[in-house]
Symmetry: C2
Subunit: 515 residues, 2 copies
């Protein structure tokens, strides 16, 4: 082509490169260049991931390191999750708003220390220096809380429950990875204030359950609900709950989404007080919670394979791709009409189906293309299918094939999509569960860490011990840290000792390397 | 209260300040402090506007000048318009995506010159200087176009039609005004590329028609469709179409939303080429188009009155507020039940109705409160209404009152909301039309400008003449400029002369001061 790709490491990714080449002469050639991935998931996971998000047309690398272009194929997944989550929180009477991207006030000490190294600062407009540098939000607690203080006067102003969908900037210097760790990302951030700790506690868990549903019901990714350690909790907060995912290939945990109880720490700093029912001055209890575009990256890492993306039907913007498979002398028009009729029937019951009727790609190219993009179900219609009034369906996840009589089309496809969704989850859960290893001693811990396990160990819950674990496991690929203490605690027999300190254990906690 | 408001110019705006004061002693006092606005729309429009957007709970002033907090009451209006527009462009096969907030490449000369003075620059992260300053998007053409160049190879990659919903930063120094001119705002920006100018031209007008519908059908604000002058068009583009609104109180035009044809200028700069059907290299034709949160400000300016906001039913998150009006010894429970039943009946047919059953505010306070917030229809239920199995409805726009038998509730309320929507538009259109004045000479022009008119004048379409008009009308309140040349052109008799230059006129053009 006439242009050099900006990111030569991933080569020429354009489907255009395998188009019929009209300029080659009169006799058009159908080039059957293989579309597949050059990297294997099990051999070089990192490069495989970079390749699959690009070739699957979810991401384009951008010319500022750590920033990525979210292409429509990924954006549609974000929008489907957004539609679900937004409706759920509206039912909870949480209201959307929009606070500025910029902040100047930085009051809360622990919080500031936590985020300061990553804050991007605006210092100039046009050619002029600003009077005072302006921070771009790494999160919005300190931007919002002064106004919570202004708006909340009496107990009748509570609860105050706000949410915003926006972009966030954290100028991190560790390995940027599309979706998983980027300098700008999209998220929702909920910020709420209550009269009582009980109400705040309840909301923390209600939101965490929505996050679990996003991972497990939409993205088909199993997560573990639990509590973060003191060392890993949100800077300035009281406690942090999390849904933790796990990537078997790298043996790394991923903080999937977090729901924080901030306690009264921010309320104290920002003087968010109210007159309670007895006419006394009291401080509010606050939460904040967020999930980000990271969710999409976790899904890709968990389900993708050497043929490309594998999308769960619930988040796929195209659930079924219908491809005509004409042989020479076949009734082309009849087959094309059958494709259109198939799409129409499926669309009518709310299934997101499309036909790929392009005449400049071979059926084989199309199979590879839509496999790369992860469409859950492919329907082929060839002369035999047309003659038999049936379609040929192929599952993306298992490659299982089945002929479906047209009369049963809608019902069967519905079942298959449900089945794919369920099966992706079960399969991911089995793989994840196979990685969980219970250890009791430091030796077992080190051995399990070396085998990329998600380690469940009895722990004394001492922050110094966690720092020590980090120090002792430090290496090229990152130190181990606590992931979460699961809400669902196995029995902890009296006298059980901490795997790391030998002191009495207080709880079971998951440990591992993480993203 | 125990706290000083951050923005003392608007005083204590919290409804909490007129709550029942439980701490005053045993006998609770219902303080009937007037909730209304302190400024009059016709006397001091600017202060009225600032007060109404704050007291109507749409905006909170923020501690960085030119940045504002968009509160839920305004955000819900934005979301309703977004739902409409997003569905429409999806039907047009335009796809959503998300490009980074940051850019570095700045290639297109005219475009850069147009935006450079307003660009905010990030130069630091944490304590470190960045290697190279990074621009925050004032619009995304130069961020997106390098990737259009990468993605578009052949004619089959066209059209490429993308849109994103995001925040934009333009560090302007002229008067900041909530919604109307702010340093950060929300918008959608569409960016598209076509093989032919015809396709681009068609899309420009299709999008402009959606913008007209947002203003006229949703916000009930009349707009004039037309073309911007060369001087006022988008920097670097080929031509700009616009929907122009007008604010009678200030006599200022408002550029409501713009749909630009960029021609091939950006394609040339960013080398966005494709191989056409004949195998030849060709350049794409591009568009970009956007509407912003400014829409909300225009609506407030046009419809608001001395009692507060007036929301058109189609964008009101609460279309009907139901308020019990209990007298002493009335059947309180019966009235409350009737309120709940009324809300339920209306909700069931998709009308956004809520009841205000709070017992610490008087009915009178509630009337004022919901009038301030602009709810289109108030329904009161008192003992007499309850006894007669009816409700008492009061329109926000006209204050017209009507008793509605419960049996006719849904039908009548539907009719009234439709009628309010229509009537707001008609009324705004009459006021706007009354401001339009046709002039033929400079003297008439100056006189009409002094009387805050939207001036329609024959013009020679010479850019130097427009600059001259600006220079000659420069003053404390801003110079006059061309607003648009309406698509709907009155007849221009042979020999008609330009109002400003005396040269032969080429077209009718609207002129005035503007936001």
């Amino acid at each position: 082509m006439h242009r050099i790709g900006l990111f030569s490491e991933v080569g020429d990714l354009s489907p255009g490169s395998v188009e019929k080449s009209a300029s080659k002469g009169k006799k058009e050639m159908m080039r059957e260049t293989r579309l597949g991935l050059s990297k294997k998931k099990d051999v070089n996971f990192g490069e495989w991931y970079s390749e699959v998000v690009v070739k699957g047309e979810m991401i384009e690398y951008y010319d500022i390191s750590g920033c990525y272009i979210v292409r429509p194929w990924a954006m549609s997944i974000w929008e489907i999750m957004q539609t679900f989550f937004d409706a759920e929180i509206k039912q909870m009477k949480i209201k959307n708003c929009y606070f500025p991207l910029f902040g100047v006030q930085q009051k809360e000490k622990d919080h500031i220390e936590g985020f300061a190294p990553e804050v991007a600062w605006v210092t100039k407009s046009g050619e002029s220096e600003l009077e005072m540098p302006i921070a771009i939000r790494p999160t919005s607690e300190t931007i919002m809380h002064p106004y919570f203080s202004k708006w909340i006067r009496g107990h009748r102003d509570l609860p105050l429950r706000l949410n915003q969908w926006c972009n966030i900037v954290r100028w991190e210097f560790s390995d940027p990875t599309p979706f998983i760790r980027s300098r700008e990302f999209l998220w929702q951030e909920g910020h709420t204030a209550f009269a009582t700790k009980e109400e705040a506690d309840t909301e923390v868990l209600e939101i965490l359950e929505l996050y679990r549903r996003i991972y497990e019901e939409f993205l088909a990714v199993p997560v573990i609900k639990g509590k973060k350690s003191e060392h890993e909790k949100f800077a300035g907060g009281l406690y942090t709950t999390t849904v933790e995912a796990f990537v078997p290939n790298t043996g790394r945990g991923v903080q999937g989404a977090t729901s924080h109880c901030l306690g009264q720490n921010f309320a104290k700093t920002f003087e968010i007080n109210f007159e309670n029912e007895k006419g006394e001055k009291a401080m509010v209890w606050q939460n904040s919670w967020a999930y980000t575009t990271r969710t999409i990256g976790v899904m890709v890492m968990v389900h993708g394979d050497d043929k490309g993306l594998v999308l769960p039907p619930k988040v796929a913007s195209v659930q079924v791709i219908v491809i005509p498979d004409p042989y020479k002398d076949a009734d082309m028009q009849g087959i094309f009409d059958a494709c259109a009729a198939t799409v129409k029937s499926l669309n009518e019951v709310g299934i997101r189906a499309e036909a790929d009727l392009r005449d400049n790609y071979s059926p084989g190219w199309k199979y590879s293309h839509w496999e790369m993009k992860g469409v859950p179900l492919r329907i082929e219609i060839g002369p035999k299918d047309f003659a038999n009034n049936q379609v040929h369906a192929v599952r993306r996840d298992s490659a299982a094939k089945i002929d479906i009589p047209m009369a049963d089309l809608v019902e069967k496809v519905k079942d298959m999509l449900d089945n794919i969704q369920q099966s992706l989850f079960e399969c991911a859960k089995q793989k994840r569960d196979a990685c969980i290893q219970v250890v009791h001693t430091w030796e077992e811990f080190v051995e399990a860490l070396g085998r990329k396990k998600m380690i469940l160990a009895p722990w004394c819950d001492d922050e110094e011990v966690e720092k020590d674990v980090k120090a002792r496991t430090k290496g090229d690929i990152g130190a181990a840290k606590s992931l979460c203490s699961p809400f669902n605690q196995p029995e902890l027999p009296e006298g059980t000792l901490c795997f790391a300190s030998g002191k009495p254990a207080k709880k079971w906690t998951y440990w591992g390397r993480s993203y």
